[in-house]
Protein backbone atom coordinates (compact mmCIF):
# COMPACT_ATOMS: atom_id res chain seq x y z
CA UNK A 1 0.00 0.00 0.00
CA UNK A 2 1.13 3.57 -0.53
CA UNK A 3 2.07 5.70 2.47
CA UNK A 4 -0.06 8.70 3.40
CA UNK A 5 0.94 11.49 5.75
CA UNK A 6 -1.19 14.34 7.00
CA UNK A 7 -0.09 17.84 8.03
CA UNK A 8 -1.98 20.86 9.38
CA UNK A 9 -1.48 24.06 7.39
CA UNK A 10 -2.34 26.95 9.70
CA UNK A 11 -4.89 29.33 8.20
CA UNK A 12 -5.22 27.23 5.07
CA UNK A 13 -6.42 23.76 5.91
CA UNK A 14 -4.83 20.34 5.68
CA UNK A 15 -2.26 18.71 3.47
CA UNK A 16 -2.17 15.00 2.63
CA UNK A 17 0.89 13.52 1.02
CA UNK A 18 0.59 10.20 -0.76
CA UNK A 19 3.64 8.25 -1.97
CA UNK A 20 2.19 6.01 -4.63
CA UNK A 21 3.45 2.57 -5.53
CA UNK A 22 4.67 3.86 -8.88
CA UNK A 23 7.09 6.16 -7.02
CA UNK A 24 5.17 9.34 -7.71
CA UNK A 25 3.98 11.71 -5.07
CA UNK A 26 0.48 13.14 -4.83
CA UNK A 27 -0.09 16.07 -2.50
CA UNK A 28 -3.68 16.97 -1.75
CA UNK A 29 -4.31 20.32 -0.08
CA UNK A 30 -7.79 20.82 1.30
CA UNK A 31 -8.43 24.52 1.88
CA UNK A 32 -10.88 25.48 4.58
CA UNK A 33 -12.85 27.40 1.96
CA UNK A 34 -13.49 24.15 0.11
CA UNK A 35 -10.92 24.53 -2.66
CA UNK A 36 -8.86 21.40 -3.31
CA UNK A 37 -5.43 21.40 -4.86
CA UNK A 38 -3.81 18.28 -6.25
CA UNK A 39 -0.06 18.45 -6.82
CA UNK A 40 1.52 15.66 -8.79
CA UNK A 41 5.27 15.16 -8.43
CA UNK A 42 6.99 12.55 -10.53
CA UNK A 43 9.83 10.41 -9.33
CA UNK A 44 12.23 12.39 -11.52
CA UNK A 45 11.47 15.79 -10.04
CA UNK A 46 10.26 16.03 -6.48
CA UNK A 47 10.96 19.78 -6.30
CA UNK A 48 8.55 21.00 -8.94
CA UNK A 49 5.11 19.55 -9.47
CA UNK A 50 4.47 18.12 -12.94
CA UNK A 51 0.90 19.35 -12.66
CA UNK A 52 -1.33 21.23 -10.29
CA UNK A 53 -5.08 20.81 -10.38
CA UNK A 54 -7.54 23.09 -8.62
CA UNK A 55 -11.03 21.90 -7.87
CA UNK A 56 -14.05 23.42 -6.20
CA UNK A 57 -15.67 21.57 -3.34
CA UNK A 58 -18.41 20.22 -5.59
CA UNK A 59 -16.01 19.04 -8.27
CA UNK A 60 -13.77 17.43 -5.69
CA UNK A 61 -16.64 15.42 -4.22
CA UNK A 62 -17.82 14.31 -7.62
CA UNK A 63 -14.33 13.26 -8.63
CA UNK A 64 -13.81 11.52 -5.30
CA UNK A 65 -16.87 9.43 -6.09
CA UNK A 66 -15.58 8.52 -9.51
CA UNK A 67 -12.06 7.71 -8.31
CA UNK A 68 -13.43 5.77 -5.38
CA UNK A 69 -15.47 3.62 -7.76
CA UNK A 70 -18.85 4.72 -6.43
CA UNK A 71 -20.35 5.39 -9.85
CA UNK A 72 -18.59 2.67 -11.77
CA UNK A 73 -16.71 -0.09 -10.05
CA UNK A 74 -13.78 -1.49 -12.07
CA UNK A 75 -15.30 -4.44 -13.89
CA UNK A 76 -12.46 -6.88 -13.57
CA UNK A 77 -11.41 -5.90 -10.08
CA UNK A 78 -13.41 -8.44 -8.05
CA UNK A 79 -11.85 -11.13 -10.22
CA UNK A 80 -8.46 -9.51 -10.39
CA UNK A 81 -7.20 -12.57 -8.67
CA UNK A 82 -8.73 -15.96 -9.17
CA UNK A 83 -7.28 -18.89 -7.37
CA UNK A 84 -7.97 -22.45 -8.50
CA UNK A 85 -6.07 -24.65 -6.16
CA UNK A 86 -2.49 -23.51 -6.62
CA UNK A 87 -3.24 -21.85 -9.94
CA UNK A 88 -3.41 -18.07 -9.70
CA UNK A 89 -4.79 -15.84 -12.42
CA UNK A 90 -3.90 -12.24 -12.02
CA UNK A 91 -4.67 -9.06 -13.97
CA UNK A 92 -1.65 -6.85 -14.34
CA UNK A 93 -1.49 -3.44 -16.01
CA UNK A 94 1.77 -2.26 -17.59
CA UNK A 95 2.55 1.13 -16.05
CA UNK A 96 4.70 3.74 -17.72
CA UNK A 97 8.42 3.11 -17.33
CA UNK A 98 7.97 -0.64 -16.86
CA UNK A 99 10.99 -2.45 -18.26
CA UNK A 100 8.94 -4.71 -20.52
CA UNK A 101 7.46 -1.94 -22.69
CA UNK A 102 8.30 -2.47 -26.34
CA UNK A 103 9.70 -5.97 -25.83
CA UNK A 104 8.22 -9.24 -26.94
CA UNK A 105 7.19 -12.15 -24.79
CA UNK A 106 9.90 -14.17 -26.48
CA UNK A 107 12.83 -11.95 -25.73
CA UNK A 108 11.69 -11.51 -22.15
CA UNK A 109 11.67 -15.33 -21.94
CA UNK A 110 8.71 -15.10 -19.66
CA UNK A 111 7.99 -18.78 -19.46
CA UNK A 112 11.52 -20.08 -19.04
CA UNK A 113 12.64 -17.43 -16.59
CA UNK A 114 9.63 -17.33 -14.32
CA UNK A 115 7.50 -20.39 -14.91
CA UNK A 116 4.32 -18.32 -15.28
CA UNK A 117 2.70 -17.36 -18.56
CA UNK A 118 0.81 -14.52 -20.14
CA UNK A 119 -2.54 -15.99 -21.12
CA UNK A 120 -4.25 -12.92 -22.58
CA UNK A 121 -3.61 -9.28 -23.30
CA UNK A 122 -6.11 -6.46 -23.23
CA UNK A 123 -4.50 -3.50 -24.98
CA UNK A 124 -5.03 0.08 -23.78
CA UNK A 125 -7.34 0.63 -26.78
CA UNK A 126 -9.44 -2.36 -25.64
CA UNK A 127 -8.14 -4.70 -28.40
CA UNK A 128 -8.10 -8.23 -27.04
CA UNK A 129 -5.36 -10.75 -27.74
CA UNK A 130 -6.41 -14.08 -26.37
CA UNK A 131 -3.51 -16.51 -26.44
CA UNK A 132 -0.83 -14.02 -27.53
CA UNK A 133 1.99 -15.30 -29.74
CA UNK A 134 5.56 -15.28 -28.47
CA UNK A 135 6.43 -12.36 -30.75
CA UNK A 136 3.64 -10.13 -29.37
CA UNK A 137 5.05 -6.76 -28.29
CA UNK A 138 4.07 -5.55 -24.81
CA UNK A 139 2.72 -2.01 -24.77
CA UNK A 140 2.27 0.57 -22.08
CA UNK A 141 -1.21 0.57 -20.59
CA UNK A 142 -2.00 -2.97 -21.65
CA UNK A 143 -3.58 -5.29 -19.10
CA UNK A 144 -2.12 -8.79 -18.99
CA UNK A 145 -3.74 -11.86 -17.57
CA UNK A 146 -1.05 -13.89 -15.92
CA UNK A 147 -1.28 -17.51 -14.94
CA UNK A 148 0.98 -19.36 -12.55
CA UNK A 149 1.32 -19.95 -8.82
CA UNK A 150 2.03 -17.35 -6.14
CA UNK A 151 5.79 -17.49 -6.52
CA UNK A 152 5.93 -17.52 -10.29
CA UNK A 153 3.33 -14.73 -10.59
CA UNK A 154 5.46 -12.53 -8.37
CA UNK A 155 8.50 -13.41 -10.46
CA UNK A 156 6.77 -12.53 -13.71
CA UNK A 157 5.56 -9.20 -12.34
CA UNK A 158 9.09 -8.37 -11.27
CA UNK A 159 10.35 -9.35 -14.71
CA UNK A 160 7.81 -7.08 -16.38
CA UNK A 161 8.50 -4.08 -14.18
CA UNK A 162 12.21 -4.33 -13.51
CA UNK A 163 13.38 -6.49 -16.40
CA UNK A 164 14.81 -9.28 -14.26
CA UNK A 165 13.14 -12.25 -12.65
CA UNK A 166 15.53 -12.83 -9.73
Amino acid sequence: MSTISEVFLPGVGRKFQVETMTGDRLVIVIHDDGTRELYHFTRRNMERPASVLRLSDGEARQIAGIVGGLTYAPRNLPMAEVILGDLVLEWFTIEEEAACIGRTIRDLEVRTRTGASIVSILEADQTKRLNPEADTVLNEGATLILAGDRRTINAVKRLLVEGRAG
Binding site: P10, G11, K15, E37, Y39, E47, P49
Partner: protein
Amino acid sequence: MDNIILEIGLALALIAFAVALAHKLGLSNIPFLIIIGMAVGPHAPQFGVFDFRFIETGSLITFMGRIGVLFLLFYLGLEANVTRLIEAGRSILVGGTIYVGINFTVGFTFGYLTGFPLREALIIAGLTTVSSSAIVAKILFDYRRMANPETQIVLGITMFEDVFLAVYLSLISGIVLSGATSVGGVLSSGGIALGFIVGLMVVGRWATPLLNRLLRISSNEVFVVVVFACLFLLAGLGETIHVAESIGALLLGLILGETEHSERMERLVVPFRDFFGAIFFFSFGLSIDPFTLGGAVWLAVGAALLSLVGVIIAGFIVGRRAKLSTVGSFNTGFTLLARGEFSIIIVNLALAGGLMAVLQPFAALYVLILASASPLLAKESERIYALFAKLFRRRGRTKMADEDLEAADGS
Protein backbone atom coordinates in the same frame (compact mmCIF):
# COMPACT_ATOMS: atom_id res chain seq x y z
CA MET B 1 -23.23 68.64 1.63
CA ASP B 2 -25.63 68.04 -1.26
CA ASN B 3 -23.59 65.60 -3.22
CA ILE B 4 -22.49 63.47 -0.35
CA ILE B 5 -23.64 60.14 -1.76
CA LEU B 6 -22.17 61.03 -5.14
CA GLU B 7 -18.82 61.84 -3.54
CA ILE B 8 -18.76 58.61 -1.56
CA GLY B 9 -19.76 56.83 -4.76
CA LEU B 10 -16.82 58.44 -6.50
CA ALA B 11 -14.47 57.33 -3.73
CA LEU B 12 -15.84 53.79 -3.94
CA ALA B 13 -15.44 53.84 -7.72
CA LEU B 14 -11.76 54.72 -7.28
CA ILE B 15 -11.43 51.95 -4.69
CA ALA B 16 -13.16 49.48 -6.98
CA PHE B 17 -10.85 50.50 -9.82
CA ALA B 18 -7.74 50.02 -7.65
CA VAL B 19 -8.90 46.64 -6.35
CA ALA B 20 -9.90 45.43 -9.82
CA LEU B 21 -6.61 46.58 -11.32
CA ALA B 22 -4.61 44.87 -8.58
CA HIS B 23 -6.61 41.71 -9.11
CA LYS B 24 -6.08 41.85 -12.87
CA LEU B 25 -2.32 42.25 -12.38
CA GLY B 26 -2.31 39.51 -9.77
CA LEU B 27 -0.93 41.82 -7.10
CA SER B 28 -1.94 42.81 -3.59
CA ASN B 29 -4.50 45.63 -3.58
CA ILE B 30 -3.07 47.49 -0.58
CA PRO B 31 -0.38 49.46 -2.48
CA PHE B 32 -2.86 50.35 -5.22
CA LEU B 33 -5.40 51.66 -2.71
CA ILE B 34 -2.77 53.77 -0.94
CA ILE B 35 -1.45 55.21 -4.21
CA ILE B 36 -4.88 56.07 -5.55
CA GLY B 37 -5.75 57.64 -2.19
CA MET B 38 -2.60 59.75 -2.33
CA ALA B 39 -3.28 60.79 -5.91
CA VAL B 40 -6.58 62.43 -5.02
CA GLY B 41 -7.32 64.67 -2.05
CA PRO B 42 -7.30 68.44 -1.42
CA HIS B 43 -4.69 69.06 -4.15
CA ALA B 44 -6.65 67.20 -6.84
CA PRO B 45 -8.78 68.91 -9.49
CA GLN B 46 -12.56 69.05 -9.69
CA PHE B 47 -14.43 68.05 -12.83
CA GLY B 48 -17.98 69.40 -12.80
CA VAL B 49 -19.97 67.32 -10.33
CA PHE B 50 -17.03 64.97 -9.78
CA ASP B 51 -15.06 66.44 -6.92
CA PHE B 52 -11.79 64.57 -6.43
CA ARG B 53 -10.79 66.71 -3.47
CA PHE B 54 -13.04 64.83 -1.05
CA ILE B 55 -13.21 67.84 1.24
CA GLU B 56 -16.77 67.45 2.41
CA THR B 57 -16.69 63.69 2.69
CA GLY B 58 -13.12 63.42 3.99
CA SER B 59 -14.24 62.91 7.57
CA LEU B 60 -16.85 60.39 6.50
CA ILE B 61 -14.30 58.37 4.56
CA THR B 62 -11.96 58.50 7.55
CA PHE B 63 -14.78 57.23 9.73
CA MET B 64 -15.53 54.32 7.42
CA GLY B 65 -11.80 53.60 7.42
CA ARG B 66 -11.92 53.46 11.22
CA ILE B 67 -14.65 50.86 10.96
CA GLY B 68 -12.36 49.02 8.57
CA VAL B 69 -9.65 48.90 11.24
CA LEU B 70 -12.16 47.50 13.72
CA PHE B 71 -13.07 44.70 11.33
CA LEU B 72 -9.45 44.01 10.36
CA LEU B 73 -8.44 43.67 13.99
CA PHE B 74 -11.55 41.76 15.03
CA TYR B 75 -10.71 39.28 12.29
CA LEU B 76 -7.07 39.14 13.41
CA GLY B 77 -8.30 38.34 16.91
CA LEU B 78 -10.51 35.53 15.62
CA GLU B 79 -7.59 34.11 13.63
CA ALA B 80 -4.88 34.50 16.27
CA ASN B 81 -5.49 31.46 18.34
CA VAL B 82 -3.01 30.72 21.11
CA THR B 83 -4.28 27.18 21.59
CA ARG B 84 -3.81 26.40 17.91
CA LEU B 85 -0.34 27.95 17.99
CA ILE B 86 0.75 25.77 20.87
CA GLU B 87 -0.69 22.71 19.13
CA ALA B 88 1.34 23.53 16.03
CA GLY B 89 4.39 22.44 17.97
CA ARG B 90 7.76 23.49 19.19
CA SER B 91 9.37 24.04 15.79
CA ILE B 92 6.83 26.73 14.90
CA LEU B 93 7.26 28.43 18.27
CA VAL B 94 11.05 28.41 17.96
CA GLY B 95 11.00 29.40 14.27
CA GLY B 96 8.53 32.21 14.93
CA THR B 97 10.57 33.51 17.85
CA ILE B 98 13.73 33.52 15.72
CA TYR B 99 11.99 35.29 12.84
CA VAL B 100 10.25 37.90 14.96
CA GLY B 101 13.30 38.34 17.21
CA ILE B 102 15.66 39.09 14.32
CA ASN B 103 13.31 41.45 12.49
CA PHE B 104 12.16 43.30 15.58
CA THR B 105 15.74 43.86 16.70
CA VAL B 106 16.77 45.02 13.24
CA GLY B 107 13.79 47.40 13.00
CA PHE B 108 14.31 48.82 16.48
CA THR B 109 18.02 49.36 15.94
CA PHE B 110 17.30 51.04 12.62
CA GLY B 111 14.72 53.39 14.17
CA TYR B 112 16.99 54.19 17.06
CA LEU B 113 20.10 54.81 14.97
CA THR B 114 18.25 57.08 12.54
CA GLY B 115 17.46 59.34 15.48
CA PHE B 116 13.88 58.49 16.39
CA PRO B 117 12.76 58.70 20.01
CA LEU B 118 11.96 55.52 21.92
CA ARG B 119 8.24 55.26 21.12
CA GLU B 120 8.73 55.96 17.43
CA ALA B 121 11.52 53.38 17.32
CA LEU B 122 9.17 50.81 18.87
CA ILE B 123 6.58 51.60 16.20
CA ILE B 124 9.17 51.20 13.44
CA ALA B 125 10.27 47.91 14.97
CA GLY B 126 6.66 46.68 14.91
CA LEU B 127 5.77 47.77 11.42
CA THR B 128 8.94 46.30 9.96
CA THR B 129 8.40 42.96 11.70
CA VAL B 130 4.91 41.78 10.93
CA SER B 131 4.25 40.17 7.54
CA SER B 132 1.05 40.70 5.64
CA SER B 133 -0.94 37.48 5.98
CA ALA B 134 -3.01 38.49 2.94
CA ILE B 135 0.01 38.82 0.66
CA VAL B 136 1.71 35.73 2.08
CA ALA B 137 -1.38 33.63 1.40
CA LYS B 138 -1.63 35.08 -2.08
CA ILE B 139 1.99 34.28 -2.94
CA LEU B 140 1.63 30.70 -1.75
CA PHE B 141 -1.59 30.19 -3.68
CA ASP B 142 -0.64 32.01 -6.89
CA TYR B 143 2.78 30.42 -7.26
CA ARG B 144 1.36 27.01 -6.41
CA ARG B 145 3.54 26.49 -3.39
CA MET B 146 0.97 24.93 -1.07
CA ALA B 147 2.58 21.49 -1.38
CA ASN B 148 6.14 22.71 -0.73
CA PRO B 149 7.80 21.69 2.53
CA GLU B 150 8.61 25.32 3.45
CA THR B 151 4.95 26.33 3.21
CA GLN B 152 4.17 24.69 6.54
CA ILE B 153 6.91 26.76 8.14
CA VAL B 154 5.82 29.99 6.44
CA LEU B 155 2.20 29.54 7.50
CA GLY B 156 3.28 28.53 10.98
CA ILE B 157 5.33 31.71 11.32
CA THR B 158 2.47 33.91 10.10
CA MET B 159 0.30 32.25 12.73
CA PHE B 160 2.98 33.06 15.31
CA GLU B 161 3.10 36.62 14.00
CA ASP B 162 -0.67 36.99 14.46
CA VAL B 163 -0.32 36.19 18.14
CA PHE B 164 2.77 38.37 18.45
CA LEU B 165 0.91 41.23 16.77
CA ALA B 166 -2.03 40.93 19.15
CA VAL B 167 0.30 41.24 22.13
CA TYR B 168 2.41 43.95 20.51
CA LEU B 169 -0.56 46.10 19.51
CA SER B 170 -2.05 45.91 22.97
CA LEU B 171 1.23 46.91 24.61
CA ILE B 172 2.10 49.60 22.11
CA SER B 173 -1.33 51.19 22.28
CA GLY B 174 -0.96 51.47 26.02
CA ILE B 175 2.47 53.01 25.59
CA VAL B 176 1.48 55.42 22.81
CA LEU B 177 -1.76 56.60 24.32
CA SER B 178 -0.29 57.11 27.78
CA GLY B 179 2.21 59.57 26.35
CA ALA B 180 5.10 58.10 28.30
CA THR B 181 8.50 58.88 26.83
CA SER B 182 10.96 57.58 29.41
CA VAL B 183 11.96 53.93 29.57
CA GLY B 184 10.36 53.59 33.01
CA GLY B 185 7.13 55.22 31.86
CA VAL B 186 7.00 53.02 28.77
CA LEU B 187 7.50 49.90 30.87
CA SER B 188 4.84 50.82 33.41
CA SER B 189 2.21 51.83 30.85
CA GLY B 190 3.01 48.70 28.87
CA GLY B 191 2.57 46.73 32.08
CA ILE B 192 -0.84 48.25 32.73
CA ALA B 193 -1.99 47.46 29.21
CA LEU B 194 -0.71 43.92 29.53
CA GLY B 195 -2.52 43.51 32.86
CA PHE B 196 -5.76 44.70 31.28
CA ILE B 197 -5.42 42.27 28.39
CA VAL B 198 -4.46 39.28 30.48
CA GLY B 199 -7.36 40.07 32.83
CA LEU B 200 -9.79 40.26 29.94
CA MET B 201 -8.45 37.04 28.43
CA VAL B 202 -8.82 35.18 31.72
CA VAL B 203 -12.39 36.41 32.06
CA GLY B 204 -12.98 35.50 28.41
CA ARG B 205 -11.69 31.97 28.95
CA TRP B 206 -13.87 31.53 31.98
CA ALA B 207 -16.88 32.90 30.07
CA THR B 208 -16.37 30.74 26.96
CA PRO B 209 -19.06 28.16 27.86
CA LEU B 210 -21.49 30.99 28.59
CA LEU B 211 -20.65 32.74 25.31
CA ASN B 212 -21.06 29.47 23.45
CA ARG B 213 -24.57 29.19 24.83
CA LEU B 214 -25.53 32.84 24.30
CA LEU B 215 -24.34 32.86 20.70
CA ARG B 216 -26.25 29.76 19.63
CA ILE B 217 -28.40 31.89 17.35
CA SER B 218 -29.72 30.11 14.29
CA SER B 219 -30.60 33.23 12.27
CA ASN B 220 -27.57 34.70 10.52
CA GLU B 221 -29.20 38.10 10.59
CA VAL B 222 -29.62 38.19 14.34
CA PHE B 223 -26.21 36.63 14.85
CA VAL B 224 -24.37 39.22 12.79
CA VAL B 225 -26.16 42.17 14.37
CA VAL B 226 -25.50 40.90 17.89
CA VAL B 227 -21.81 40.29 17.18
CA PHE B 228 -21.33 43.69 15.53
CA ALA B 229 -23.12 45.44 18.39
CA CYS B 230 -20.68 43.80 20.81
CA LEU B 231 -17.80 44.80 18.56
CA PHE B 232 -18.64 48.49 18.48
CA LEU B 233 -19.62 48.63 22.15
CA LEU B 234 -16.43 47.01 23.38
CA ALA B 235 -14.26 49.05 21.01
CA GLY B 236 -15.94 52.25 22.21
CA LEU B 237 -15.67 51.26 25.88
CA GLY B 238 -11.97 50.56 25.40
CA GLU B 239 -11.55 54.09 24.14
CA THR B 240 -13.08 55.60 27.27
CA ILE B 241 -10.51 53.85 29.46
CA HIS B 242 -7.60 54.80 27.18
CA VAL B 243 -7.22 51.56 25.30
CA ALA B 244 -7.31 52.22 21.56
CA GLU B 245 -10.67 51.30 20.03
CA SER B 246 -8.93 48.90 17.68
CA ILE B 247 -7.54 47.02 20.68
CA GLY B 248 -11.08 46.57 21.99
CA ALA B 249 -11.99 44.97 18.67
CA LEU B 250 -8.88 42.81 18.75
CA LEU B 251 -9.59 41.58 22.27
CA LEU B 252 -13.20 40.78 21.44
CA GLY B 253 -11.91 38.79 18.47
CA LEU B 254 -9.46 36.91 20.71
CA ILE B 255 -12.20 36.04 23.21
CA LEU B 256 -14.80 35.05 20.62
CA GLY B 257 -12.14 33.15 18.67
CA GLU B 258 -12.07 30.63 21.52
CA THR B 259 -15.78 29.90 21.22
CA GLU B 260 -17.35 27.28 18.99
CA HIS B 261 -18.75 30.07 16.80
CA SER B 262 -15.43 31.45 15.61
CA GLU B 263 -15.58 29.98 12.09
CA ARG B 264 -19.10 31.22 11.50
CA MET B 265 -18.03 34.70 12.61
CA GLU B 266 -14.99 34.64 10.33
CA ARG B 267 -17.21 33.79 7.38
CA LEU B 268 -19.65 36.58 8.17
CA VAL B 269 -17.01 39.21 8.91
CA VAL B 270 -14.92 38.69 5.77
CA PRO B 271 -17.07 40.79 3.36
CA PHE B 272 -17.24 43.63 5.87
CA ARG B 273 -13.52 43.41 6.52
CA ASP B 274 -12.79 43.50 2.79
CA PHE B 275 -15.13 46.40 2.06
CA PHE B 276 -14.32 48.66 4.99
CA GLY B 277 -10.69 47.56 4.98
CA ALA B 278 -10.35 48.78 1.39
CA ILE B 279 -11.83 52.12 2.44
CA PHE B 280 -9.30 52.24 5.28
CA PHE B 281 -6.29 51.85 2.97
CA PHE B 282 -7.78 54.41 0.61
CA SER B 283 -8.36 56.88 3.43
CA PHE B 284 -4.83 56.23 4.69
CA GLY B 285 -3.53 57.25 1.28
CA LEU B 286 -5.93 60.17 1.17
CA SER B 287 -4.50 61.55 4.41
CA ILE B 288 -0.97 61.55 2.98
CA ASP B 289 0.16 64.67 1.19
CA PRO B 290 2.24 63.25 -1.68
CA PHE B 291 4.65 66.17 -1.32
CA THR B 292 5.76 64.92 2.10
CA LEU B 293 6.91 61.62 0.61
CA GLY B 294 10.28 63.03 -0.45
CA GLY B 295 11.42 63.41 3.15
CA ALA B 296 10.86 59.74 3.88
CA VAL B 297 12.22 58.09 0.74
CA TRP B 298 15.70 57.22 1.98
CA LEU B 299 14.40 56.15 5.33
CA ALA B 300 11.91 53.78 3.70
CA VAL B 301 14.45 52.42 1.21
CA GLY B 302 16.95 51.86 4.02
CA ALA B 303 14.40 50.08 6.18
CA ALA B 304 13.25 47.95 3.24
CA LEU B 305 16.83 46.86 2.48
CA LEU B 306 17.48 46.04 6.13
CA SER B 307 14.26 44.03 6.26
CA LEU B 308 15.40 42.14 3.18
CA VAL B 309 18.65 41.22 4.91
CA GLY B 310 16.72 40.41 8.08
CA VAL B 311 14.32 38.01 6.40
CA ILE B 312 17.05 36.27 4.39
CA ILE B 313 19.04 35.61 7.58
CA ALA B 314 15.93 34.56 9.48
CA GLY B 315 14.84 32.39 6.55
CA PHE B 316 18.19 30.63 6.54
CA ILE B 317 18.30 30.00 10.28
CA VAL B 318 14.72 28.73 10.33
CA GLY B 319 15.28 26.78 7.10
CA ARG B 320 18.40 25.02 8.42
CA ARG B 321 16.54 24.04 11.57
CA ALA B 322 13.68 22.61 9.53
CA LYS B 323 16.13 20.95 7.07
CA LEU B 324 14.76 22.87 4.10
CA SER B 325 16.62 23.13 0.80
CA THR B 326 18.42 26.42 0.11
CA VAL B 327 15.73 27.46 -2.34
CA GLY B 328 13.18 26.61 0.32
CA SER B 329 14.99 28.87 2.81
CA PHE B 330 15.00 31.71 0.29
CA ASN B 331 11.31 31.14 -0.34
CA THR B 332 10.60 31.29 3.38
CA GLY B 333 12.36 34.64 3.74
CA PHE B 334 11.05 36.26 0.56
CA THR B 335 7.46 35.19 1.17
CA LEU B 336 7.52 36.50 4.73
CA LEU B 337 9.03 39.78 3.50
CA ALA B 338 5.59 40.98 2.39
CA ARG B 339 4.39 43.93 4.47
CA GLY B 340 0.89 45.31 4.22
CA GLU B 341 -2.24 45.78 6.26
CA PHE B 342 -0.70 45.32 9.69
CA SER B 343 2.13 47.79 9.15
CA ILE B 344 -0.42 50.39 8.12
CA ILE B 345 -2.59 49.63 11.14
CA ILE B 346 0.41 49.97 13.47
CA VAL B 347 1.42 53.33 12.08
CA ASN B 348 -2.18 54.46 12.15
CA LEU B 349 -2.19 53.79 15.88
CA ALA B 350 1.00 55.83 16.27
CA LEU B 351 -0.56 58.77 14.41
CA ALA B 352 -3.69 58.58 16.55
CA GLY B 353 -1.39 58.83 19.56
CA GLY B 354 0.25 61.95 18.15
CA LEU B 355 3.63 60.47 17.33
CA MET B 356 5.92 62.02 14.69
CA ALA B 357 4.09 62.65 11.42
CA VAL B 358 6.99 61.47 9.26
CA LEU B 359 6.07 57.92 10.28
CA GLN B 360 3.10 58.04 7.92
CA PRO B 361 4.86 58.66 4.58
CA PHE B 362 7.64 56.38 5.79
CA ALA B 363 5.23 53.50 6.44
CA ALA B 364 3.38 54.11 3.18
CA LEU B 365 6.57 53.96 1.11
CA TYR B 366 7.96 51.04 3.06
CA VAL B 367 4.77 49.04 2.49
CA LEU B 368 4.66 50.05 -1.18
CA ILE B 369 8.21 48.80 -1.69
CA LEU B 370 7.88 45.50 0.14
CA ALA B 371 4.34 44.63 -0.94
CA SER B 372 5.60 44.80 -4.52
CA ALA B 373 9.10 43.38 -3.98
CA SER B 374 8.17 40.34 -1.95
CA PRO B 375 6.02 38.56 -4.58
CA LEU B 376 8.65 39.27 -7.25
CA LEU B 377 11.51 37.96 -5.11
CA ALA B 378 9.49 34.93 -4.05
CA LYS B 379 8.73 34.15 -7.67
CA GLU B 380 12.37 34.40 -8.75
CA SER B 381 13.84 32.72 -5.69
CA GLU B 382 15.38 29.94 -7.78
CA ARG B 383 17.25 32.37 -10.00
CA ILE B 384 18.33 34.44 -7.02
CA TYR B 385 19.59 31.27 -5.42
CA ALA B 386 21.55 30.38 -8.57
CA LEU B 387 23.09 33.86 -8.51
CA PHE B 388 24.08 33.48 -4.87
CA ALA B 389 25.53 30.06 -5.52
CA LYS B 390 27.66 31.49 -8.34
CA LEU B 391 28.87 34.36 -6.16
CA PHE B 392 29.83 31.96 -3.41
CA ARG B 393 31.67 29.70 -5.81
CA ARG B 394 33.77 32.57 -7.14
CA ARG B 395 34.66 33.62 -3.65
CA GLY B 396 37.01 30.83 -2.63
CA ARG B 397 34.41 28.09 -2.27
CA THR B 398 33.04 28.31 1.22
CA LYS B 399 31.96 25.01 2.62
CA MET B 400 28.28 25.85 2.82
CA ALA B 401 28.08 26.98 -0.77
CA ASP B 402 29.80 23.80 -1.91
CA GLU B 403 27.32 21.61 -0.16
CA ASP B 404 24.49 23.54 -1.71
CA LEU B 405 25.97 23.30 -5.17
CA GLU B 406 26.42 19.58 -4.84
CA ALA B 407 22.83 19.28 -3.73
CA ALA B 408 21.78 21.38 -6.71
CA ASP B 409 23.85 19.29 -9.14
CA GLY B 410 22.41 16.11 -7.77
CA SER B 411 18.83 17.13 -8.36
